[in-house]
């Protein structure tokens, strides 16, 4: 049942699953499948062997685009592990064998060897974030790395808020309780080191500003700057639950509007073109989120006198800008 369409990239995926099951003797959650395939692909590439694996950067890091391959030899079965975690476990379907792939033996050997090597490297690692972090560190640019680290930290902050979460003054649908099941929101007790948390978040944001690659991600730079501006204020005002939700929104849209378009290999041009065409929709959706979260910020932050202190000069600038736009629109 060999077909010339089942080639190097398919074999690579096949070998990764087989190696982890047989060589490392454990399951392979889908997230880790993506990352291990990518490591095998990249390391072989660095050693001079191009396997053509279709990959792209997305929300949770690097993804293998199985839709671009003949993929009926692999399945992802729902599984609940002993740890209590639920996910999808990668398995080889029925009795697929290596000889069903149409590739040169020497190439097959190199792929198998590398897959085993990578499987052994993570044999005793059961935390998928470790493999994920490895791909970020080795192949992600410093901005994407920084954002990944910031997200880990910010995700844990959802329980910490200066404002009693049900008291958020906001539009219908923007209150914190919309995003979580837990509505136990009696007086929130802030941990003693809330200033430390603020300072950590500010440090993450500083790093993101420093590392943002303007030339690479030029299309969504205005949205990044607005997200960063509002997030900084959320941190300064200890509105950490909003920070987590907002960061997630930004990350999803940014992955669609920039990451997968800028960082993909072996994806069909038609698909990439479709992603580009959807970019404006993503930007518009993110602008809407920005407006929503800015409103929540303005309604709940502690006001300062910083703008009032330069109020006269600022107001003149407002009038000049109004005039400029008016004349420009004629």
């Amino acid at each position: 049942m060999t077909s010339s369409d089942y080639g190097e990239p398919e074999f690579l995926c096949f070998e990764v699953v087989r190696s982890v099951h047989d060589v490392a003797n454990r399951d392979l959650p889908k997230t880790e499948f993506n990352k291990q395939c990518y490591l095998v692909y990249k390391e072989l590439q660095e050693e001079g062997l191009e396997t053509g694996l279709p990959v792209y950067w997305y929300e949770h890091g690097i993804m293998v685009d199985l839709d671009e391959l003949l993929n009926d030899f692999i399945a992802f079965k729902d599984k609940r592990w002993d740890s209590g975690r639920r996910g999808k476990n990668a398995v080889i379907v029925d009795d697929w064998e290596a000889d069903q792939f149409d590739i040169e033996q020497s190439i097959a050997d190199r792929i198998s060897l590398k897959a085993s090597e990578v499987a052994r490297r993570f044999e005793h690692t059961f935390d998928t974030s470790v493999v994920k972090d490895r791909t970020y560190k080795k192949y992600g640019n410093s901005f994407v790395q920084a954002l990944n680290e910031a997200r880990y930290y910010i995700e844990d902050l959802n329980d910490i808020d200066r404002i009693n979460q049900e008291d958020y003054v906001a539009d219908v649908g923007v209150s914190y309780s919309d995003f979580v099941d837990d509505t136990d929101t009696n007086t929130v007790e802030l941990p003693e080191d809330v200033e430390g948390i603020e300072s950590d978040v500010i440090e993450f944001l500083d790093r993101l500003v420093e590392t943002y690659p303007t030339d690479t991600y030029d299309k969504m730079e205005p949205q990044f700057r607005q997200w960063e501006s509002i997030s900084r204020q959320f941190a300064m005002n200890h509105m950490f639950s909003q920070l987590g939700n907002f960061t997630n929104e930004f990350w999803i849209r940014f992955s669609r509007g920039e990451l997968r378009i800028e960082h993909n290999e072996n994806i069909s041009p038609l698909k990439v073109r479709r992603w580009r065409m959807k970019r404006d929709d993503e930007i518009e959706a993110l602008e809407e989120e920005i407006r929503k979260y800015r409103k929540v910020l303005l309604e709940n932050r502690e006001p300062t006198a910083e703008l009032s202190a330069v109020g006269d000069s600022f107001s003149q600038s407002v009038r000049d800008t109004y005039l400029e736009f008016r004349e420009g629109d004629r």
Partner: protein
């Protein structure tokens, strides 16, 4: 004496975005200007919806771009006065911060006067507050402008002969004038006045024209008076 007050876009911008004496003047008129009601004509409403966000966005993003530049470039910590001068005179760029330049310059000048030394993180926090407060609607502390101003929704009329006799001709201003006239004709029992922040187009005498804009409007339309809510002319430093 009680009247109907029709306001233009500039007055609303003064009330909601500005933060100086002009804001106070606009606020005083809108809240307590001796009128029975304040009305916003449809053209001014649509101009305001469009332009309000643009103004805030452009000023705020200039401040945040400058702030992010300071973050990337400034290494000394804490800064002394000469460090602050370096930022104000060297780093702050009127090409990048085209519109925000003057108030950012003032911001640093005050810091230089008031502080011997300051941590960069404190400057960043202050700038962050400024870029955020550009978005504040200052009418909210009075209940929001919509609780004091009615947006006109009863249509407009065609007045070709009035239009041809009006001297005002710039952009949307003639439409605002005609809409105010229309509103006035629908309230024959009380005087309607137009309150404007734009004296150049609605009040002043323009060289070459037979009468002042104000006299012209009062003569040609049903409007009783043009109320001057313009800001004083910019002082050149």
């Amino acid at each position: 004496m009680s009247h109907l007050g029709v306001i233009d876009t500039g007055v609303l911008i003064g009330f909601t975005i500005e933060q100086d004496q002009h804001h106070e003047n606009c606020k005083d008129y809108i809240i307590d200007g001796g009128h029975r009601e304040v009305i916003l004509p449809p053209t001014a409403d649509s101009e305001f919806s469009n332009i309000e966000q643009r103004i805030r966005k452009s000023l705020s993003s200039e401040v945040s771009e400058h702030r992010q530049k300071v973050q990337r470039v400034v290494n000394d910590d804490p800064l002394d006065r000469s460090g602050l001068r370096f930022i104000r005179d060297g780093l702050l760029d009127s090409d990048d911060s085209e519109r925000a330049y003057s108030f950012l310059y003032k911001f640093y000048s005050r810091l230089i006067k008031e502080r011997v030394q300051i941590y960069v993180q404190e400057i960043i926090s202050k700038l962050s507050n400024i870029e955020t407060e550009v978005w504040v609607d200052w009418s909210q502390q009075y209940g929001g402008w919509k609780t004091h101003v009615r947006v006109w929704s009863k249509g407009t009329g065609q007045y070709p002969s009035i239009e041809s006799n009006l001297l005002i001709c710039e952009g949307d201003d003639p439409d605002i004038c005609l809409e105010a006239h229309h509103i006035s004709t629908l309230s024959p029992t009380e005087p309607t006045k137009i309150a404007t922040a734009n004296r150049r187009h609605f009040i002043d005498a323009v060289p070459g024209e037979p009468e002042s804009r104000e006299d012209n409007i009062e003569r040609v339309t049903d409007l009783k008076e043009v109320i001057d809510l313009s800001a004083p002319l910019k002082q050149t430093p």
